[in-house]
């Protein structure tokens, strides 16, 4: 029983991490003269007199958003994990306090930091909404509703803009998005000039479970897929449009359904995945393996992140393809 729970919890740690984007219900009308900041989020509305300065973030992708706006959070859940999994241009400062796990963040540690706002994910911490709101106004984003799942890229952009509004950094946010768009178009041109055999791609984040490879195949609604389409690729998975979290899980056989494509993967360096498959006939006979169309995007590319992760993704992709 215990063992089972740990298995599942461990899987959910990863899953929860995947939590990508918060969805903004709607931008609150803000024409009031008293300049209050009003944020409507998944579980209510929060009002601020001025831009919050001390920010605690309980989910990695929102920590990334805050960093993108040039603000250091005072506390983040599972700092070690963030550093391992999320490779982006900006770094968490050394004085950022680890406030515990993303599943059960340490309430007293959060309170001790005396934050002005807490940012998190509704489906992870909705149950402790009351507790969190005792400490500070809390913004809950939502990534699992039907609407949010439809286009996880848009959902990420929406939450980014909301976070920017909250922190009164809307101009900075526009800049970051602008830069990203420019990046897309330059990379797109470069990729065209590289004359790849196909535009179709299969993007996977994969890991080894009991010597067996498990693939997360990203579907069209995922963040990753949208980014890749912006630089001129085409997702070879055309079914499963509404996959939760933007991916389906598969083993080697499942991967074989989508083998006429460029195989892009984000696999942890210490994962023995490819070693294990070295002598696997099924794997070696897949079209992209035979044609040597494997591209290593890097295991620390956070496939569930926001603008900065998107940039990392595009950079790594270009590098991988050029090599």
């Amino acid at each position: 029983m215990k063992k089972l729970l740990f298995l599942v919890v461990a899987m959910l740690v990863v899953l929860a991490g995947c939590a990508e984007k918060g969805k903004v219900d709607k931008e609150a009308k803000d024409s009031d003269a008293d300049e209050k900041i009003e944020i409507t989020h998944a579980l209510g509305t929060a009002t601020f007199d001025k831009a919050p300065e001390r920010v605690v973030v309980l989910e990695w992708n929102y920590a990334e958003e805050v960093l993108a706006l040039d603000i250091q959070p005072v506390g983040v859940a599972d700092v070690e994990g963030f550093k391992k999994w999320v490779k982006i241009d900006k770094q968490l400062g050394d004085d950022v306090v680890d406030v515990g796990t993303r599943q059960e963040p340490n309430l007293e540690e959060i309170a001790k930091l005396n934050p002005d706002v807490i940012i998190t994910l509704a489906n992870n911490h909705g149950s402790i909404q009351k507790d969190l709101e005792k400490i500070a106004p809390t913004i809950f984003y939502d990534t699992t509703s039907k609407e949010a799942t439809k286009d996880l890229y848009q959902t990420a952009m929406d939450s980014f803009k909301t976070t920017a509004k909250l922190l009164q950094k809307e101009q900075k946010a526009d800049e970051v998005i602008q830069q990203l768009e420019e990046k897309y178009s330059t990379v797109k041109q470069e990729i065209v000039s590289l004359n790849l055999p196909t535009k179709k791609f299969l993007f996977t984040q994969a890991y080894t479970v009991n010597q067996a490879p498990t693939f997360r195949l990203f579907t069209k609604n995922s963040m990753v897929s949208h980014v890749l389409e912006k630089v001129g690729f085409e997702n070879t998975i055309t079914d499963h449009l509404d996959a939760d979290w933007g991916f389906i899980e598969a083993n080697i056989e499942g991967v074989s359904n989508y083998q006429d494509a460029l195989f892009m993967h984000a696999v942890q360096e210490d994962d023995p995945l490819f070693d294990n498959m070295k002598n696997n006939k099924v794997w070696n006979d897949l079209t992209f393996v035979k044609d040597n169309q494997l591209y290593d995007i890097g295991g620390d590319t956070w496939t569930f992140g926001g603008v900065l992760s998107a940039e990392t993704l595009v950079n790594n992709l270009l590098k991988a393809i050029k090599e």
């Binding site: 515990g100 796990t101 059960e104 479970v209 009991n210 939760d244 006939k281």
Partner: protein
């Protein structure tokens, strides 16, 4: 024939499955399907056959040697032991984790076998063996669980394997296993004539000049070795080893030579069949085949156990107690002081650091968050600990069963399972409805258990065996639900693992109400409990409607446990430990026992909660895990004690 059909279905399954008919039609023309067939599905089939056959033969030999129809690698704890050793090896000698898997597993299997032997004694009473084996398994699992928590990075790859999976990437697993398997099997066949001798009974065999001891040892080695092969290659897979030999015997095979052959076929069929079912349920994710065998095998184990225990009235054993302290109130005072101390230390620790003692007053006065988060959590821990202890005490008294406790009886996991099912059936349901489901589930589980054990006169060991089996089935079902439903169930799972996290004053209120409502009642009836302990005749003699009283009291006990589960999730063992400790201190009079029991219960859970906050701060360790680390060994100890009482 049946086997061939199963096998043909088995290899036609897979993620890029075309369906059975198409698969066989296209196999010859489609090189890719051929690849699947040859390099992924066929190895899976073969390894499944080897594992199934090995488990079945191992189970059969163990059953013959012990003359115990409930013996098998899983019921003797050999699987869990082997698995635990492998996990330990992977964590502490990561460089060598790929080497000698067979030897490590064999060592673990031997260790577990000796442990069970030592605990059960030479008589190897069937039901007791099964029970001890299952608890040894539980013990190893909770150790493994703890290791997995503390060394999460090192063992992620072992999770799925822990429940047994047939997944194969190529032929290497088969290549590794088949020589060992074949050699061992040939040895088994060679000595099968000797094994037949065991059927005659020890005296007769010795009379015929056979060296029974030597044969037994050889048999054990073969059996444990076979089980170890499967653990090393596919992980611990339960229940096949217990079911297959029974089927073979039902088919009319009697001599070992033919039984071995029969078991090879039946065992392979069972495991392949289970794997077909598993993959029928889910195609895109790997679901442990072990879960399926538990669902099939669990009920069968219960059935067999009931059959075994018939006719043999092992009467509910006396609840032994010690009267160490002739004067009770000083003891109560001491324990109360200890409780106070524990609470005090617990209050001192917040977040990641202790508050210095001289500042605590100030902190309590000024830091509102201490009151919001720390204090309610500690109070809830203490109150719920008391409720659990009281629930356990009542169940033990009413069932006259020293091993009774909501978690041991499977009531707790029944509650957990039902809460999960509720979540699946009504996905939109608010989180706070889960406790309601838990309550209903607890009652249902108890009803089932009572119904089944009614005819065996609530024999202690039977009850526990049933409880443990129900837990195994429950966790397998939860596992399948989790994989099958794509719900985001983080919260439910945290709750399931038993956590005092996020307790608020509402929880305190709920627990306090239960305490205020139930405890006076319990105290008032403490004399009745005493009477019930002495047996129905006496109780009826002094005018007690025993059946009715018993039923009410069971409902009361389960209710207490269900409330606890509803508040903090599935934390076990406190209801078992606290009353025992109390009984050892002040004897069996409930009037004296009761205050000590509840105080100890409170102390236990508060300490677990404190350690959970302290050990990995700022991260939380579920209190439930910490409790079971203490609880499982204690249960084994108790089992041994009760064994001795019965033997007298």
């Amino acid at each position: 024939m049946l086997f061939l059909l199963l096998a043909s279905v088995h290899v036609s399954q897979g993620q890029s499955s075309l369906g059975y008919v198409t698969f066989w039609q296209q196999l010859r023309h489609d090189p890719q399907q051929m690849n699947f067939f040859l390099y992924s599905r066929l190895p899976r089939l073969v390894i499944g056959c080897i594992a199934g056959a090995a488990l079945a033969v191992a189970g059969m030999i163990m059953q013959s040697i012990t003359k115990n129809p409930l013996a098998s690698a899983s019921t003797l704890g050999i699987h869990a032991g082997a698995y635990f050793f492998v996990v330990v090896w992977a964590i502490f000698f990561p460089k060598m984790s790929g080497d000698f898997p067979l030897l490590i597993a064999f060592g673990g299997g031997l260790a577990a076998a000796f442990l069970v032997w030592g605990l059960v004694g030479r008589a190897l009473d069937p039901v007791r063996v099964a029970l001890t084996g299952l608890i040894v398994s539980m013990l190893f699992s909770s150790f493994t669980g703890a290791l997995q928590l503390f060394f999460a990075n090192e063992v992620t790859g072992l999770f799925l394997w822990g429940s047994g999976s047939l997944l194969q990437l190529d032929w290497s697993g088969v290549q590794f296993a088949w020589p060992w398997f074949t050699v061992t099997l040939i040895v088994a066949l060679l000595v099968s004539r000797k094994l037949d001798v065991l059927l005659l009974g020890d005296e007769t065999a010795i009379g015929l000049g056979e060296k029974v001891g030597g044969i037994k040892v050889l048999g054990w080695i073969i059996a444990i070795f076979l089980a170890s092969i499967t653990v090393a290659v596919v992980g611990p897979i339960g229940f096949v080893g217990i079911i297959a030999p029974h089927i073979v015997r039902l088919l009319g095979f009697r001599l070992h030579y033919s039984m071995i052959l029969g078991n090879i076929v039946i065992g392979a069929m069972l495991l392949i069949g289970a794997d077909v079912l598993v993959r029928f349920i889910t195609q895109t994710q790997e679901l442990p085949v072990g879960a399926m065998t538990a669902i099939i095998g669990g009920p069968l184990l219960i059935y067999l156990a009931i059959k075994m225990s018939k006719g043999k009235k092992e009467q509910a054993s006396a609840l032994g107690g010690h009267d160490f302290f002739p004067r009770k109130w000083p003891v109560v005072l001491c324990i109360a002081a200890l409780a106070f101390l524990v609470l005090f230390v617990s209050v001192l620790f917040g977040g990641t650091a202790f508050t210095p003692v001289n500042e605590i007053v100030q902190e309590l006065a000024h830091n509102v968050y201490v009151w919001d988060f720390r204090v309610p959590r500690i109070v809830v821990s203490f109150l719920v600990g008391m409720l659990m202890a009281a629930g356990g005490m009542i169940l033990q008294a009413v069932l006259r069963n020293p091993l009774a406790d909501a978690s041991v009886l499977g009531v707790t996991s029944g509650a957990g399972m039902f809460a999960m099912i509720l979540l699946i059936l009504f996905p939109g349901i608010p989180f706070y409805f889960i406790p309601v489901g838990a309550f209903v589930g607890a009652m249902l589980a108890m009803a089932v258990i009572l119904l089944f054990s009614f005819r065996s006169g609530f024999q202690p060991i039977m009850l526990v065996l049933m409880g443990v089996s129900i837990s195994a089935i429950g966790s397998a079902i939860i596992q399948i639900i989790v994989v099958k439903s794509k719900l985001n169930i983080t919260q439910a799972l945290t709750w399931l693992s038993g956590s005092t996290y996020g307790s608020s004053w509402e929880h305190v209120l709920l627990a306090a109400c239960a305490v205020v409502l139930f405890f006076p009642v319990i105290y008032y009836f403490s004399r009745t409990f005493d009477v019930l302990l002495f047996g129905d005749e006496l109780a009826t003699g002094i005018g007690l409607k025993t059946q009715k009283v018993r039923l009410y009291m069971i409902v009361l006990g389960v209710a207490l446990s269900a409330i606890s589960v509803a508040i903090v999730g599935t934390i076990g063992f406190i209801g078992l430990l606290a009353p025992h400790a109390a009984r050892r201190m002040v004897g069996i009079k409930h009037q004296h026992m009761f205050p000590i029991t509840i105080l100890l219960g409170g102390i236990l859970l508060t300490v677990a909660d404190f350690l959970g906050r302290y050990l990995l701060a700022p991260n939380d360790v579920p209190a439930g895990l910490l409790v079971s680390l203490v609880g499982a060994p204690y249960l084994l100890y108790l089992l041994r004690k009760t064994g001795k009482t019965v033997a007298k």
